[in-house]
């Protein structure tokens, strides 16, 4: 652990530096490939929507030794049209999922299952979703998503600066694509719980980005007053300085989510807990990646286009005779040893 903390110190002083900004083409390429894969998976396979979105009924019987064949026989005897999906959950549960049924058909399936497995009708856990319900839920989820993006963008534009808001939203959209892509690719079920987890993750991914941006802003507040470093270099230093923090916060956030996933998938087999935590888990990982590898480079690129920043880059370029953004930020050794040894600013708010 202490070795890791020591790394924090070296990263902070710029003795160890990972070039996040300069190698942005590499990160963009990696993300681009993932996004293309996601789009391909989405258009070829589509999402595996749960019955909440399609409409349908789900019956779960708890009975040790129940087999899929017995359940299928019961469902067939109830005269249910169409294909039903029947699967075992854990060792003593069996779940039957059908298409949209009317009340009489639902009762028939419950009765047939209760008779087959000799359990009480009331002990069968049932979920019935009307066909029009899915549309409603989908619509609301989309409203929530767009409302969230707009509110956060406005807020960040006010709290930080408009370009930071754009970069943060770019990172979030990136997260959305990749997470949805993973769901399409692997074929995980998408349920309302997934959608909640997903929306939460958007918030969390932004939380991470906010932490990084806060440091960037601090490092670049008076950047044009001197010619020590370009915007990109200062940004890169900020990302390196917050790297340990980002990793710690992400890890700490992953621990409880991982435990929900473990318990939800392991003990309960399926349901709210598993769906929610799986989405959180995937989203957290993607969100951490984008807050380091996507948001800061996009921000740096946007800001470098400003005349003031270009002029600064020229001044800095003249001083150190290195190519502007692709240069390593602060090299080990030499006279510029990082913030500690740099002339100090006297006043700050």
């Amino acid at each position: 652990m202490s070795k890791f903390s020591g790394l924090g110190g070296r990263l902070y002083r710029g003795e160890t530096s990972i070039d996040f900004i300069g190698r942005r083409r590499r990160w963009y390429a990696i993300s681009g490939i993932f996004i293309l894969l996601s789009i391909a998976a989405l258009s070829l396979q589509g999402l595996h929507l749960g019955i909440e979105f399609k409409g349908g009924s789900s019956f779960t019987v708890t009975k040790a030794g129940a087999t899929v064949d017995q359940a299928r026989a019961a469902v067939t005897s109830a005269g249910i049209p169409g294909e039903s999906i029947i699967q075992t959950i854990g060792s003593e549960k069996i779940r039957v999922q059908t298409g949209a049924l009317d009340t009489a058909q639902n009762n028939a399936v419950q009765d047939a299952l209760a008779a087959k497995f000799s359990v009480k009708v009331e002990s069968i856990d049932t979920q019935i979703v009307g066909p029009s319900w899915g549309k409603e839920i989908t619509r609301k989820a989309l409203y929530g998503l767009f409302g969230f993006l707009i509110c956060v963008m406005l807020y960040l534009a006010m709290a930080f600066e408009p370009k930071m808001a754009i970069a943060a939203i770019a990172a979030v959209v990136h997260d959305v694509f990749i997470t949805v892509g993973i769901y399409a690719l692997v074929g995980f079920d998408v349920t309302p719980a997934t959608v909640i987890g997903f929306l939460t993750i958007l918030g969390y991914s932004l939380y991470d980005t906010v932490v990084v941006f806060d440091k960037i802003r601090e490092n670049t507040r008076t950047i044009t007053a001197s010619s020590k470093s370009t915007y990109s270099q200062a940004t890169n230093l900020a990302v390196n300085q917050t790297l340990v923090r980002s990793m710690n916060t992400s890890l700490i956030a992953l621990l409880p989510v991982g435990s929900i996933l473990f318990v939800g998938a392991g003990l309960l087999g399926a349901g709210t807990l598993k769906d929610l935590s799986l989405a959180l888990f995937i989203g957290l990982a993607v969100g951490t990646y984008s807050s380091i590898f996507i948001a800061p480079p996009v921000l740096a690129q946007l800001r470098e286009k400003e005349p003031a920043m270009q002029a600064l880059a020229k001044r800095v370029g003249g001083r150190t005779a290195t190519a502007e953004t692709s240069a390593p930020v602060v090299s080990v050794g030499g006279e510029r040893r990082g913030p500690r040894n740099q002339p100090k600013r006297k006043h700050r708010k």
């Binding site: 110190g9 906010v210 621990l255 709210t272």
Partner: protein
Amino acid sequence: MSTTTKPAKTSARPGRSLAILGLVLIALTGLVFVQSATAVRLGLDLRGGTSVTLQPRIAPGESGKVTNEAIDQAVSIIRQRVNSLGVAESEVTAQGSGTNRQIVISVPGDTGRRVVELVGQTAELRFRQVLATATSTGTTDATATPVTGVSAALNAKFVALDCTKAENLQGSGTDAPTDTIVSCDRAGTNKYILAPAEVLGRQVSKASASIDTQGGSAWYVSLTFNGEGTKAFGALTTRVTTLATPLNQVAIVLDGLVVSAPRITEAIPSGNAQITGSFTQLEAQDLANVLKYGALPLAFDRGEVQQVSPTLGADQLNAGLLAGGIGLGLVLLYSLLYYRGLGMVTVGSLTIAGSLVYLLFLLLGKWIGFTLTLAGIAGAIVAIGVTADSFIIYFERIRDEIREGRTLRTAVETGWGRARRTILVADFVSIIAAVLLYFFAVGGVRGFAFTLGLTTLIDLIVVFVFTKPIVTILARMNFFASGHPLSGLSAKSTGTLPVAKEA
């Protein structure tokens, strides 16, 4: 990077914040006992029960819009039906906003199928001639004399009908308009034999409650029928007005229950009628509402039905608690390993946050009917991570300041000034997410959003009134200030060159 930073204001009196926090905790605990809210209200998915979500829409063949008032009317009709089941803590509420609201019915326990059958029916307003009436006092009804022109079976049913029993007041909406029926009034005091319906609710075009200022300030309800209704109501009133009581009464029946049974004093061929009586303002307005919105029967799309057996409920509760326990344990373990002495601050802060959340769950259950669902538990567990993150942001800031060459006591204050801002912005983003989720979603999602928002707020409170003050106090202790290897602030663990005193 800089040498001067205004110390944060809270630095001066760390003791005061802690004292206030202590008082708040004691006050909340006291309230819990005073209000005897000693158990968290669990949602149906954690204790078993049935929940049905209905999406109101305009019935086929009707025109118009789903209005707020119509939904309120539907909620009260369904509530009447659900209450007749006699299950404690059943709830019927409209959720969501505007005219796009859903009606959510939750009934604990094993009543599954009955609830589903009960709530989905459309209620319609009908006008029926009264054939007989009697006071319903309980088991024996001597006053209920057989009525001629009605089948013996129906007469027997009338005699046996006990309107004081809740199940007879449920109004199932199964009364066919063409049948002669027996029925109770809504209050359960009178029972009736009623002729087939002659005027239907959809034939009422207008209804309102007004006050007659000349005739002794009495409230009355005026109603107007459409073309069809005018003809039918005209014929009905012309026929019954000359008959003897109770045959000259016309019952207004909603959902199988008599709302009012006014006596017809004259033939009303004009389509404009007034119902007078000793109404209070409230009664008159209720009757007008019934007439108005009963005229627009809503149909319901059964959005979602969820039946959870008590066994599954208990399993889900245990799983949720177990996941929370493991998650909390891992977070604490990691904090202690990584931050050593400072990790203890995390332990303390999470304990305080946890106590506040638990106390608020108890009190909100009492005050606003907050129920904890599985999604809510998940929200609280996720919040453990988010809460711990604010501590990390602060701790890492302190370390950064130490790397800048500050002493611990200064680092704690300057670091706070900067971390505070980051924490505020980041938590605010979480709160935006929670609020939007809450308003755009129904059912379980709302539970998740609510706990997430609540815990984020508590996180803010704890960071400000506990974590920061306690770190200030600890910074004065030699163990931390000298950078003891176990303090989490040693030169080795921050990776600083030997701690330099500030010039």
